[in-house]
């Protein structure tokens, strides 16, 4: 299956829902806005459910399932590097100390991408079969 009418209908619903949600938030103090917000959320949810329902019709893809836990660990490490950088700014007021903690945190984030996430997404790659 490639692009279909169902995809088009659900995408239209998704865009309509998103627009209504934003309108609801933007004009929240008016009465109609709350209704728009609820309607928008319903439309978006229906659209996402529609996407999920038609997904299996796509057929076999070249993207193979990869270990979710390993990917999660990678994401956590990348995020942890960034948080360390932010925390490091409050560890010391000296420029030298902050430079060291910033570089360390940045390196941890990069390592998370290169040495955990990249191997994780290639664990069961189609080209290994």
């Amino acid at each position: 299956m490639a692009a279909t009418k169902s995809q088009g209908i659900n995408f239209t619903l998704f865009m309509g829902g998103l627009t209504a949600v934003c309108a609801g938030v933007a004009f929240f103090d008016s009465g109609m806005a709350k209704l728009a917000l609820i309607l928008g959320l319903v439309c978006a949810a229906v659209a996402l459910w529609g996407f999920f329902k038609i997904k299996p019709l796509e057929g076999k893809t070249g993207g193979t399932p990869q270990p979710a836990v390993m990917k999660l660990i990678g994401v956590v490490v990348v995020l942890a590097g960034w948080l360390f950088v932010l925390f490091g700014l409050h560890l010391t007021a000296g420029v030298g100390g902050r430079l060291v903690t910033s570089i360390l945190g940045f390196a941890v984030s990069l390592a998370g991408i290169c040495f955990i996430l990249a191997p994780a997404v290639n664990k069961n790659a189609i080209w290994k079969a």
Binding site: A2, G62, G63, I103, A118
Partner: protein
């Protein structure tokens, strides 16, 4: 007698000093126009009858007669003249910002040509359509919410009249200091943001945002389901980009690192190496990782195959279009041509073209020396890498710094392309991750080294008095601020994009089927071939065997 002589000399000296002081005072005082002088100017202005004869020399068009009068009874006043001068300043800045914004908008055409040219002919329509539709997706998402998140608290820009209606930033208090997180007004450009200045900044920021979105389509070309691309692009334009944009440009916490944490002038990114290019490049990396490589890109032993694009002429013309558009990107980021140090636009434009030049040298020479050929596609990526890298520092460095930054970017993009392909095993058909991600990060970092402390846009940057100065010119703390920005790009933006697109993958599937991929995306996804009269080559065996190998 002697006393009388001394007294006489003293008196003479005092008179001389007083006369001198009076002369200096007269010279210092600005000559003030009087009502009589205005009347005189009005009397000398050309009459309607004179103007009716035409003005071939352009000497009588545009005079005191053209200054609007607030009250016809009192006639022209100094207040009227001063108001007109103020409006002229804003008008110059509006026109400058809008025209440079139009140039940036045209970069979409360059991106479309580069990306499609580097893809195979069977995916040309699909790749062009992604570049075309991303403009629409991004613009709409930015209008309904993205702009509000990014610029909702960005009031205070004197170049565009103050933008006082953008005055609501959501702030959190940590360790006793206030940090901006996201803007809260400007959705649908309604209510108080229905304002002439806000419209100008919206247009300019929107085309920047769309540039970031279109970077992702290149890295995921030839296998990204059109539906997934559309949803992902809408969400990126609505949330991912605006959030980081707020932190850097909208009065958010990164820009406050100078005021709150004493780090230089705060995180600096003049025109968007980080905000636009690294956000786009790192999101491209996240999505490309989730989608996986194209069938046939890697062999069983992990070695990579080169999948050659179909039109190198489109690639190189696209690069030229992008280089042209970059004259909007960087000089336009002053948001004005009049006042507040904005005459530096000439320097910014020269830095931009110079970095592109040296980066082309860097990439071309690297490929020629290492691989034996002056590779065309890498040369194209070289100029783009240099332009990406100089985007952030263009307003803060001198020409020598710009040339070095560009040259480093040119070599870096070649090394990065090889690293992404051979070490990370991520398939990036156009090199978007390296051009925009790697060189975007390099551009952000380079401010921390090369900012020369001479650029003073109105006396302060990010609320800190003085000029942006890097490590080589004496301020190491600026480098720390830049590293914090890079860490945020990698640690937050990449992670956010990865998780968001992972969820989308679970819900709607990011990738087309193997049958679609092998046949080419043009017919199954778009219903029309890009080049219907072309005869396709038979596919190699590895592509035909892919369906048997697939496990999902």
């Amino acid at each position: 007698m002697r006393i009388a002589r001394i007294a006489a000399w003293s008196c003479a000296l005092a008179i001389l000093l007083m006369a001198g002081a009076a002369t200096v005072a007269r010279a210092d005082a600005a000559p003030s126009a009087s009502a009589a002088e205005l009347k005189d100017a009005l009397s000398k202005a050309p009459t309607t009858a004179t103007l009716a004869n035409g003005d071939p020399g352009g000497t009588t068009t545009g005079t005191v007669n053209d200054v609007p009068v607030a009250d016809t009874k009192t006639g022209l006043t100094l207040g009227d003249v001063a108001n007109q001068v103020g409006q002229n300043k804003i008008a110059v800045n509006f026109v400058w910002t809008l025209i440079t914004g139009f140039l940036v908008m045209f970069m979409q055409a360059g991106f479309a040509m580069v990306e499609s040219g580097l893809c195979r002919v069977k995916n040309a329509n699909h790749t062009y359509m992604m570049n075309f539709f991303v403009y629409t997706c991004g613009l709409f998402a930015y209008w309904i919410i993205g702009f509000a998140i990014q610029m909702g608290g960005a009031a205070g820009n004197g170049n565009l009249g103050g933008l006082q209606s953008l005055n609501t930033e959501h702030v959190i208090t940590l360790f006793g200091t206030h940090w901006g997180i996201f803007g809260e007004c400007g959705m649908f450009l309604a209510r108080s943001t229905y304002d002439v200045g806000v419209m100008v900044i919206f247009l300019f920021e929107m085309v920047f945002m769309d540039t970031a979105l279109t970077i992702v389509t290149g890295a995921c070309a030839e296998r990204w389901k059109f539906l997934a691309f559309a949803v992902s692009s809408v969400l990126m334009g609505a949330f991912t980009y605006p959030l980081y944009g707020n932190w850097a440009w909208g009065g958010g916490w990164l820009s406050q690192l100078g005021v709150n944490a004493g780090l230089g002038k705060g995180y600096c990114d003049f025109a968007g190496s980080g905000v636009v290019h690294a956000v786009g490049g790192l999101t491209a990396l996240a999505v490309a990782m989730i989608i996986g490589p194209r069938i046939g890109k890697f062999n069983r032993d992990g070695s990579a195959n080169a999948i050659i694009g179909h039109d190198i002429s489109a690639v190189l013309i696209g690069c030229f279009i992008l280089a042209f558009g970059w004259f909007g990107f960087n000089p336009g980021s002053t948001l004005g041509a009049s006042a507040a140090g904005n005459l530096r636009i000439g320097s910014i434009a020269v830095n931009t073209m110079l970095a592109g030049c040296t980066a082309t040298f860097g990439a071309l020479l690297y490929m020629w020396v290492v691989k034996g050929k002056p590779d065309a596609s890498m040369s194209g990526n070289g100029i783009l890498a240099g332009l990406v890298a100089i985007t952030a520092p263009s307003g803060f460095v001198n020409t020598t710094g710009a040339a070095i930054i560009g040259f480093v970017a040119g070599v870096l993009v070649c090394l990065s392309c090889a690293f992404v392909e051979n070490v990370l095993k991520v398939d990036d058909p156009v090199g978007a991750v390296s051009v925009h991600g790697t060189c975007g990060l390099w551009g952000v970092l380079s401010i921390g080294f090369f900012a020369d402390g001479t650029s003073n846009y109105g006396g302060a940057w990010n609320g800190v008095t003085g000029s942006v100065t890097g490590l080589f010119y004496g301020d190491a703390s600026q480098l720390v601020a830049q590293i914090v920005g890079c860490a945020t790009l990698v640690g937050f933006v990449f992670t956010f994009s990865f998780v968001l697109n992972w969820i989308l993958d679970v819900i709607l599937g990011q990738r087309v089927s193997i049958a679609t991929e092998v046949a080419g995306l043009d017919l199954p996804e778009m219903g029309q071939l890009g080049y219907p009269e072309f005869v396709f080559k038979p596919e190699p065996d590895v592509l035909l065997a892919a369906e048997r190998m697939a496990v999902a």
